[in-house]
């Protein structure tokens, strides 16, 4: 590792960090079985995308990325609200949050 | 940046943060004393008056008691969360309080020390100046809900969990009304910066509306005269945010033992207490800033005071220090008044029932805050015509 990579923080650093966070979230969605953890992993992915938007926004010098983040945040909050409401309903019905127990559509 | 800065400036800024934190923590015993004596006064009894003059040494005795109590962890507790919760209780209050400007900046001219010349500095009488001050304060203090949940769940006690769920539901419900109530204020001042807001409230009351200029020499130019409803809503919601009576459902002794801090004793309980008082202090500081002119002295603008100070002191540094000191005193008077109102209300109003609390937050405060926002928008538009 050269010192330029460590000292000179540029767009690449933010993009790689965001990519790593996104992949973490994706692995969570694929590997975990708890509904709520799945929802949380999706939030993590959305967050990493927000980070990319803001990084691009700064380095391109336009504010449109911030607007996108604003919209993504709103939609993520809405998605979390509905997702959690669904999780509560599912938990009330099956008394279980592991997706293995309700992969059949039979009530 | 950062590394190239003067060592002196970095040191002073670092020390300033420590001093502000210590000030916050040290204010708590005084407030506790005030609360106990004040409640005694309100209820027509004496209060603690045996230890030291006026019972002031009671604080010291309490501190010794808190520190020497047995360190107790319930069997069913999750030790990590159980210990982390009280520590986290201090953070939102301390971090948010540092963003509140308490006086005008102190300008220090060039001076000689250790055989070196140190350049001119400007020191803000606040922890750090953030452009989006109020957004930052709201964001940081919204993290307080985690403390409650961590404490409630980490204690492994049914009553703690119930108390924590109640308290956090209450906190996030009232956050909406809190945020909306100050939207009108932000629209009126046109800035998020707390210092700018204070600067706009100097001098006697005057504003222009549809081409007419209205001014009154008898009233200061404070936000309360422009946003009375917002002031009322804001102050009400902050009671709920800091879990104080009449909204302290989280504690509700008669049904929940002591709410989320049932299992905490000694110093850990004390830290929750400091956190609660930290919220009160932020609320009082913001109340003074938004609606009562912040650090400004009524009828006297900052420029006038600076001119006067330049006349009575020898150096420019001294003048700016004098101005800052006077403003700090002014801020402290307003700040202490609102802290006293918090105590006063606690010993005057009874507790709400939980459904009443939620109804009040969602069906009364929120619509009124929305109405205030819309009304303010229309009036600002009409005034600009």
């Amino acid at each position: 590792m050269n010192s330029d990579f460590i000292n000179n923080i540029g767009l690449t650093h933010y993009l790689v960090l965001a990519a790593m966070l996104f992949v973490t979230g994706m692995a969570g969605v694929l590997f975990r079985r708890n509904v709520i953890v799945l929802l949380m992993s999706i939030e993590l992915m959305l967050n990493s995308v927000n980070l990319t938007f803001v990084a691009f926004s700064k380095f391109l010098g336009i504010l449109d990325g911030h607007i996108m983040v604003f919209f993504v945040m709103t939609i993520a909050a809405a998605e979390a609200a509905v997702g959690l409401a669904l999780a509560v309903t599912i938990f009330k019905r099956f008394n279980e949050v592991n997706i293995r127990f309700f992969e059949h559509l039979k009530g | 940046m950062g590394m190239g800065k003067d060592i002196f400036e970095i040191t002073v800024n670092g020390l300033k943060l420590v001093v502000i934190f210590l000030m916050m923590v040290q204010a708590v015993p005084i407030l506790v004393w005030l609360e106990r004596r004040g409640s005694a006064f309100i209820q027509n009894r004496l209060g603690p008056n045996r230890v030291g003059p006026l019972g002031l040494m009671q604080l010291l005795a309490d501190a010794v008691k808190f520190l020497t109590k047995e360190n107790f962890v319930p069997d069913t507790a999750k030790p990590l969360l159980y210990y982390a919760a009280p520590v986290f209780a201090l953070i939102p209050g301390a971090v948010a309080f540092s963003a509140i400007p308490m006086s005008t900046p102190i300008q220090i001219g060039v001076f000689e020390m250790f055989g070196q010349s140190w350049g001119p500095y400007t020191f803000l009488v606040q922890g750090y100046d953030i452009g989006v001050g109020i957004v930052f304060i709201l964001g940081v203090s919204s993290l307080a809900a985690y403390t409650l949940l961590m404490a409630g769940w980490g204690s492994g006690n049914k009553y703690s969990l119930m108390g924590a769920l109640r308290a956090s539901a209450q906190t996030i419900s009232y956050e909406l009304a809190l945020g909306l109530s100050i939207v009108g204020v932000i629209m009126m001042y046109g800035t998020f910066n707390l210092t700018d807001m204070t600067m706009m409230q100097q001098g006697p009351l005057n504003f222009s509306f549809m081409g007419y200029t209205v001014s009154s020499p008898y009233l200061p130019n404070w936000g309360i005269f422009f946003q009375p409803l917002a002031a009322l809503l804001f102050f009400t919601t902050t009671f709920a945010e800091s879990n104080r009576l009449p909204f302290d459902l989280a504690e509700g002794e008669s049904e929940l033992v002591a709410g989320f801090h049932t299992e905490y004793g000694g110093f850990k309980f004390n830290m929750f207490f400091i956190g609660e008082y930290g919220h009160m202090m932020i609320a009082s500081g913001l109340m003074a800033l938004f609606f009562f002119g912040g650090f400004g002295i009524p009828f006297v603008s900052v420029v006038e005071l600076q001119e006067w100070a330049a006349g009575v002191t020898a150096t420019a540094t001294g003048a700016s220090a004098l101005v800052a000191g006077l403003h700090f005193l002014s801020f402290m008077v307003k700040f202490s008044f609102f802290l006293w109102v918090f105590i006063w209300v606690r010993w005057t109003l009874p507790r709400f029932r939980y459904d009443q609390l939620m109804d009040f937050g969602w069906k009364t405060l929120l619509p009124w805050a929305l109405a205030n926002t819309i009304l303010t928008a229309f009036i600002i538009y009409a005034a600009s015509l």
Binding site: H13, M26, L39, H66 | G139
Partner: protein, 177 residues
């Protein structure tokens, strides 16, 4: 190392470690608390990118409201350790791992091979002032250029609020019907 670089590396490590603990912790409570920590880290990263207002909104909306909801729901369910934290099956697991690795490689490779521009210094509205200027500009384009999206989001939020209440509604409760 400069202060900026130190801040970035510190925050990067905090976000990555807490992000990883979200998916590795078998207890959902700790997952949620770690995710909250990630959100705070991302918010601090926004500050290093001069997006002060977005950082504040991130704290209020994500860390202060969404994650509190998650933690509350998990505590309400009183979930213990997950019995089967991770999906089983060697083959599907391998496929999943391969796909995660593939997307990671693709993304990082794309970033590495792309000709990334250096920071635009002159005439950059994002880096002006201490956040006030860019916040004002943000408001202006939000209510002019993106007004349709803003209104559409308002409608979406209303629909979501009604839908969530309808979904989670139960008979009984503290209020009379």
């Amino acid at each position: 190392m400069t202060a900026d670089a130190f801040l970035f590396w510190f925050l990067a490590i905090v976000t990555l470690v807490s992000g990883l603990s979200v998916i590795l912790n078998s207890n959902p409570i700790y997952s949620a608390l770690c995710l909250a920590m990630t959100m705070v880290g991302v918010s601090a990263l926004f500050v290093t990118l001069n997006a002060y207002f977005i950082a504040g909104v991130q704290l209020i909306v994500y860390a202060g409201a969404v994650m509190v909801l998650f933690v509350m729901v998990i505590m309400l369910f009183d979930l213990k350790k997950d019995l089967q934290t991770f999906a089983r099956g060697m083959f599907t697991g391998g496929v999943k791992l391969a796909s995660v690795g593939l997307i990671a490689g693709l993304v990082v490779g794309a970033i590495k091979s792309a000709e990334l521009f250096t920071e635009k210094v002159a005439d950059n509205p994002v880096t002006t002032g201490n956040g006030m200027e860019s916040t004002k500009a943000l408001g202006q384009i939000l209510f002019t250029k993106y007004i349709f999206g803003f209104e559409a989001l308002g409608v979406l939020l209303l629909v979501i609020a009604v839908g969530a209440v309808a979904l989670a509604r139960s008979k009984g409760g503290t209020h009379e019907q």
